[in-house]
């Protein structure tokens, strides 16, 4: 490891030194925004020809860009998907600020479904996919509810963890190996309604970026991916709104200016299944609560040319209850950020964020058995980051991040004086996670760009004043009582991230990357899909952090402006991968760590994608070949076994077409090898019932999965009307494929010696209609 660090530092020093004595250069910086909303266009591109070679930059999440160029006259081209490109000529004899507004293209409806920041070919990054809110909106949706994570699941290398679930696996990793950030705040429970919908209201989202394994050094904490979700800034020009009424939910968004340089956006969504249940002829169903809601809000302010501030907040909750039992769970997240431009080349950003996830379950089945149980977890953290364009071709980012984790695994028990069960409170887990990070983007000439990153992470367990238990042979062996607030154990890791991009001609590039990641918190769940009742637990003296290495390489090629082709291959190794012993008891288990069986993981794959950006039909076709295995002592006789996410073949097709000025049609189709499963191969009789005996873990597979979704959108345009609206008709699972959600095994009632298998499938053909409007 020390050798790698020395090599990185030497390389960086060499590149920086090489800058001495080069041309006089200046920085052009500014903001690229949309004329329609005044909002910054994240990922918008600026490019220029300098002495025959192309240089460029992509705007960040706020639409800000910076580009270092030699002195002289330059013709800058600003472009973004769905907007008309614009050329601006600048004479550079000093640093310049150039703010540009782009106009939406006339009759542009669908746009491009996946948009990279600039052309993927040229970006010095790989393993990255971006989706705009507009792109997500185009995809046919389950019950008409547009869903960020369902859209992500259509990308190569990403798969759903279960039919209908908003959990996802990236390159064979577990669903808890994905870091989900909403404006830098961690979202731990990203699903509503037992996982069928994600917590992200698409109307409040600006852009979604997925980093598959190769995460920039500014982020860390998960092995498989980073899903970075940026909320939308409010419209700075005028009061505007959007909303929709759908089959299961309605939503409304309002946005606008609230002063000079200040804008707001507020968005809400609620389901109303319980409204219909109140009309049920079954009186037991009438009092049932069954709903979820989301609230998003954000305020942005500009203080002069150099300072920006924002505060964004999210709150959401699910509630299910009848007269004898109930359950609620939900997230809250808030982030405040400030950025300051010290100069054209030097920008500092600071954010503080907090997030929480909690659930509560209760039952009232008699005075003695009435019980409740609650779990809560929260993060409070902050990050300071400096971005410095040291010279043309050398961009540096460095900073520090820290977070305090507080996980309360459980608190509850019997209710009332007559309760049979006592009340218990599991010890609260506290930890401090810190990281120093640095990222350098180095143009090495001849079309070669290096990305060098290093993250030094420290995870410290902090005593809560109670007992700290130590394991031996998976059983608690002895305890200590460190004083409250004391750090009783720490892990430190260096996490290098390296990437290289080599432009091959003007239309192609070869890229490679290596990334090491460390994960210090994980879900205590042995289900493949995850549930709202999952508790997270921390690395500790008994549970080492998960460590992963990913090596990837790819070739990217443009076929004009219409098509982009890419192929990426990767290999992954992981240690300390969390699994659990057979029949593990996880819910409400104070001695959870005894159930853990940490082991190794390995995976490899290839992702191929052809993307149509400007053809009559836009969208993409992708094929993923992916394998993923695990091995842990005490599981499957210590032999390697397929991970639950090992699906060798996945094909996705996404297509959008404007068939007229008023009609747009979209379709997506997915095929995936059935996921691994353990089936019974034998049976034995216990208490008059046949109990299965099993194959090795995950030796069999579910039937292959495939599904076609269709949608058609009718624009309801009226000349001169300020309110525009559309009707969206969608068919989820259009040909009614019965994809199993679960397969289980039964005995015939009349012939007890005959066993049979049954499948539960969640969805037949699911039609829906949604009315969307904007004003």
């Amino acid at each position: 490891m020390r050798c790698i660090c020395c090599l990185l530092l030497a390389l960086l020093a060499g590149m920086t030194a090489g800058a001495a004595g080069q041309e006089v250069s200046f920085t052009v910086r500014g903001r690229i925004s949309g004329e329609d909303s005044g909002r910054g266009l994240a990922g918008a591109n600026v490019s220029v020809n300098v002495e025959g070679s192309r240089r460029g930059s992509a705007a960040d999440a706020r639409g800000d860009y910076a580009l270092r160029l030699p002195a002289g006259r330059h013709a800058l081209t600003f472009s973004f998907i769905g907007y008309a490109a614009r050329e601006v000529t600048v004479e550079l004899s000093a640093d310049r600020v150039v703010n540009v507004s782009l106009s939406p293209r006339a009759n542009e409806i669908a746009g491009v479904v996946v948009s990279a920041a600039g052309r993927r070919t040229e970006r010095p990054e790989m393993n990255v996919e971006r989706l705009s809110a507009l792109a997500i909106k185009q995809l046919p949706a389950l019950m008409g509810e547009v869903d960020v994570i369902k859209a992500i699941q259509m990308l190569p290398g990403v798969q759903s963890t279960a039919e209908g679930s908003s959990g996802f696996s990236v390159r064979g990793g577990s669903h808890d190996q994905n870091l989900i950030l909403l404006d830098d705040a961690t979202v731990y429970g990203a699903s509503h309604l037992m996982g069928f919908f994600s917590v992200f209201n698409n109307d409040a989202i600006k852009e979604v970026t997925l980093y598959k394994g190769d995460v920039p050094a500014t982020f860390g904490g998960r092995l498989s991916s980073l899903l970075e979700i940026r909320s939308k800034e409010g419209n700075g020009e005028r009061l505007a709104g959007a909303g929709g009424i759908g089959v299961i939910a309605s939503r409304l968004t309002l946005e606008g200016p609230i002063g000079r340089g200040v804008s707001f956006i507020a968005s809400g969504r609620r389901t109303y299944a319980d409204v219909f249940l109140a009309l049920s002829p079954d009186k037991d169903l009438r009092g049932t609560a069954l709903h979820f809601y989301d609230l998003n809000g954000r305020v942005d302010a500009r203080a002069g040319e150099r300072d920006r501030l924002f505060v964004s907040a999210y709150a959401g909750e699910d509630k299910f209850a009848n007269k004898s039992a109930g359950m609620t769970f939900g997230n809250k997240a808030v982030t405040a950020g400030w950025s300051h431009a010290f100069s054209a080349d030097l920008l500092a950003r600071a954010t503080v964020s907090g997030s929480s996830y909690n659930y509560y379950i209760g039952s009232d089945i008699g005075e003695q058995l009435a019980q409740d149980w609650a779990s809560a977890m929260s993060d409070v953290g902050g990050k300071v980051e400096v971005a410095w364009q040291a010279r043309p071709g050398l961009e540096l980012k460095f900073g520090y991040a820290a977070a305090m984790h507080r996980f309360s695994p459980g608190d509850g028990g019997g209710i009332g004086d007559d309760a049979l069960f006592e009340r218990v409170r599991h010890p609260v887990q506290r930890a401090r996670e810190q990281a120093f990070f640095g990222d350098a983007m180095v143009g090495a000439g001849e079309g070669l760009t290096l990305r060098l990153g290093l993250r030094y992470s420290v995870f410290s367990n902090v005593a809560g004043g109670g007992e700290v238990k130590y394991l031996q042979d998976h059983l608690y062996h002895h305890s200590e009582f460190p004083r409250r607030g004391a750090v009783y154990h720490s892990y430190r890791h260096l996490e290098p991230r390296v990437g290289v991009t080599w432009l091959v001609g003007s239309e192609g590039s070869v890229k490679a990357s290596y990334a090491r990641s460390v994960q210090y918190v994980q879900v205590a769940s042995n289900s493949a899909a995850g549930s709202p009742l999952d508790v997270w637990f921390q690395a500790s003296p008994n549970v080492r952090p998960q460590r992963g290495d990913q090596l990837a390489a790819g070739y990217f090629r443009n076929l004009g402006d219409a098509w982009e082709l890419s192929v990426e291959v990767y290999g992954r190794l992981a240690r300390g991968v969390i699994d659990f012993k057979d029949h593990a008891s996880l819910l409400g288990n104070e001695n959870l760590e005894e159930e853990v069986r940490a082991g190794k993981g390995r995976g490899a794959g290839m992702e191929w994608m052809a993307r149509a950006n400007d053809a009559p039909v836009t969208g993409w076709v992708s094929y993923t070949y992916s394998r993923s295995w695990r091995q842990a002592k005490g599981i499957n006789g210590d032999a390697w076994y397929r991970s639950p996410y090992d699906k060798p073949h996945v094909v996705t097709v996404v297509a959008n077409r404007d068939v007229s000025a008023r009609w747009r049609v979209s379709a997506n189709w997915i095929y995936a090898t059935g996921h691994p499963v353990t089936y019974p191969t034998g049976r034995v009789l216990v208490e008059n019932r046949y109990v299965p005996t099993y194959s090795g873990r995950n030796e069999f597979r579910f039937p292959d999965y495939h599904r076609l979704d269709l949608s058609a959108t009718r624009l309801l345009l009226r000349a001169g009307a300020r309110v525009t609206s559309e009707l969206n008709f969608s068919l989820y699972n259009a040909y009614g494929r019965k994809n199993p959600w679960s397969i289980f095994f039964r005995q015939e009632k009349e012939q007890p010696d005959v066993s049979y298998a049954e499948q539960i499938y969640l969805f037949g053909v699911v039609p829906s209609v949604t009315w969307n409007f904007t004003f």
Binding site: F320, I361, S527, T678, V684, E687, T693, A757
Partner: protein, 283 residues
């Protein structure tokens, strides 16, 4: 909260049979039996695992030598009845709480011509005391009669109880999924002052009560290992659930091949537990 899943899925979810082929079972010996505190014939069954989708009854194994050994006695089990692989003690045998029991079986399961030895041991927990039983119509569960127990739990370090019901002497909870195992990990005391032990569904003919019926509650106190075996076996009968369930797995066993070449796979359980029961007449 599992009851919410069907509620959520009621709009679209469906169930249907599916053709799954899982091949032949791995060759595996299975033994299951227990000694209770009742004076009766105690039974041990020995069989081999059959293919999951076989349509034949249990494949019992005859010809084994089976004994149960305590510190003070050895009880030979004889194969009785028409069904192969069912071995019983004499009818006057009763287990004693606190006493250790060892099951020893000798048979040639691996077919090499020489018998292997299989052993399992169990210690019988102390017994609970059931003072009385009451019946009441549930105000929470629709059309259910609650069976309420009063009594005292024993002084075992941890208690695991299973509750069985009889109606006029007919065993209503004879199948694995008909009873459940409760532990006293977080009980506030050892007193059972009206614990809900079982439910009788009045919409089902097989559990419906009429005035004058005698309902008997039997409480077994299980060892932690046997409770684990029963719970895991019950878990494997339930439908797998990708949201809340983990991967299926073979059930815990306490039977070991201690002699022969040890090559044969063996599973099952041998237990010892005390029982106590009380009856009430439904009015």
């Amino acid at each position: 909260m599992m009851k919410f899943i069907p509620l959520i899925l009621l709009l679209t979810a469906c169930t249907e049979r599916i053709d799954i082929r899982t091949g032949e079972a791995t060759r595996q010996l299975f033994a299951y039996g227990y000694v209770t505190s009742d004076t009766t014939r105690h039974v041990v069954t020995i069989s081999r695992a059959t293919a999951y989708f076989a349509t034949t009854p249990r494949a019992g194994i005859s010809g084994a030598q089976v004994v149960i050994v305590t510190d003070s006695a050895t009880y030979a089990l004889a194969e009785v009845g028409e069904e192969a692989g069912v071995y019983c003690t004499d009818a006057d045998v009763a287990g004693v709480p606190g006493e250790a029991y060892e099951l020893v079986m000798m048979l040639d399961f691996d077919g090499d011509g020489a018998p292997e030895e299989y052993r399992a041991s169990a210690c019988m927990p102390l017994t609970s005391r059931i003072d009385s039983v009451a019946l009441r119509h549930s105000t929470v569960f629709k059309n259910q009669v609650e069976v309420i127990g009063y009594g005292t739990l024993p002084d075992n370090e941890k208690n695991f109880m299973s509750f069985h019901l009889y109606r006029n002497g007919e065993h209503l909870t004879r199948s694995l999924e008909d009873f459940f195992v409760m532990d006293d990990t977080h009980f506030t005391s050892r007193e059972m002052n009206g614990v809900l032990c079982q439910l009788l569904d009045q919409e089902e003919e097989e559990s419906r009560l009429v005035a004058g019926d005698t309902v008997t509650l039997r409480v077994d106190v299980l060892s932690e290992e046997y409770a684990r075996f029963i719970r895991e076996a019950q878990q494997e009968l339930r439908a797998a659930n990708p949201i809340f369930g983990g991967p299926p797995a073979n059930v815990f066993t306490n039977i070991r091949c201690t002699g022969g070449d040890g090559g044969a796979r063996v599973s099952g359980f041998f237990a010892a537990f005390p029982t106590d029961s009380k009856s009430v007449i439904y009015r």
